[in-house]
Amino acid sequence: MGGRKKTLLGMAALMLLTAPLVAPVWAGDGPGTVEIGSLATYYSAVTFDHAMHTGVASSCAECHHHTTGLAPTDPTCARCHEAGAKAGSVACKDCHSDKRFSAEDQAKIEGNPQLYHKGKPGLKGAYHRKCLGCHTTMGGPTGCQDCHTRNDKGDAFFNSGKYAPAPTTSAGHGGGH
């Protein structure tokens, strides 16, 4: 074979071999960013960099459980999900309710005696537990406003920012203790 052809073939082989390594980025799994607007009451919407996270996560299952079609390794989960079937949706909000503990949510759980995951966290809980878990161990943002800044309503809710109470000197007694 000619020298150039050899180089081209070599490069092709190299690319094919390393493809699995770079596939997560190139494979275009999932959206580049996700707009999380469920917290819009007190916080401005979060533009979640999905693409970056697919790079740091070791597999989709780390965040999406087994909904992407990867069979779980944990024997407790495998009991039911060993087939590793892909779920109808992998989006967090499609399984984790954003109205957790509401009457409808309670009724749905109570009305389904076959349901195993009765303690499934709601959307807000799922986000925070999932994200903060890794962030704490891997050194990501952990402060409330590191991920989502408060809007004006949020400042009022927390009596913070321009709604912060005037600092009081310990005014007399009778303050109760």
Binding site: H173, G174, G175, G176, H177
Partner: protein, 416 residues
Amino acid sequence: MNSLQSKGFAPVVSHLKKDGREWTVKEKIMLGLSPKEYWAVQLRNPFNWVLWAIYAVGLPILVGRFIFGLGWVTHSSYDYPWGLFLGWGLFTMVPLSASGFMMGTTVELFGRKDFKPIERLGLLNGLLGYLFAVMFLQVDLGQPWRLIYPMFVSLGPAAVLFLVAWHVATYLSCQVAELVPAFAEWMGFPKAKQAIKKIVLGLTIAGIILSTLHQGALGALFTYAPGKVHPLWYSSSFQWFQFFVSAVFAGLSMLIVVSTLTKWFMRWRCDENYLNNLSKLTLGLAKGASLALITYLVVKIIGVAHDNDWQYLATGWGGWFMFEMVVGVILPLIFYTMAVRNSNASLARFSAFLAVFGIALNRLNTALITFNWQLYQEIPHWRELVIVVTVYATYIVVYRAVLARMPILYTWKENK
């Protein structure tokens, strides 16, 4: 007044004056003196100067408590909701006022007519003590105008305090009724006196039942907070009994103390019947008190043993407990016994002062000092102390006013 007596002044002892005319009510109130003489006496009395000083400071603060609320006179503590108003005014004053049912029982039920000279003093001590305990309660309650709620508006019978509220109200009426004869004699209402005489046995029995229960109930209140009162002062099984038995000797000792004070400071008002019998009666009361004291001591020891709290005796709190037991229980017990054996009324009187101190210390320890012993110590606000002194001074003023007028320390001469 004592000096006036040496100059020939004779106090009012009957309806008629020396010249045969009747005393008017106004004259009786003025102790048989002319208004000028009366006020001269009041101004000369050094104790009155102390009282006026107390009122000058205390009255504005007492009024302020009702205008500005409890937050102005206390530390507004959530951990220590009860302070001196209840610790002293209710928990201490109520057992010290147990002389009411003690004397009623002794004279009317057990037929010990030899105690009659001091009976009315015991009843008055009881009535005024309870009356002012209610005054202290009104100062302490967040909404004192709702005092009648547990009786007529919203009843909560499961609460120990429900029993206390009902009993204090009923018992107060009992005691007022028991003192109507004295008032009737003084005012000249013979029919009232006859009416009470008919039911005096019933009143006495009611008094015993009510007193026993609520004296014990005040102790039972602390079973609501088993972990908050120090184990040496707390006994889940015997708390109520300890409070009841200590109330017995508290009432008797307080009666000895008050009779001693009358002997020292109001001699002009006491008649021979009272003064001549006083030492003998003091020893009689001492005997009863010593029996109650030994019972109390035994029940206290049993309480410690029952909860297995011996290791607490070796701590700082244990030392304080021992102090209270020695000065407030053991020494009075020994002195009372010695006094009775040697017919030494003075020793009995000294012992009575110790016993009263011991009761006050026990109640204050349980309600305030060892309360929240695991947290921090709370010193009451100075305004709280001022109000307590002011209301107590009022108690003394009313006490003195009644003793100076009505036939408590002397026998009324019915010469109609």
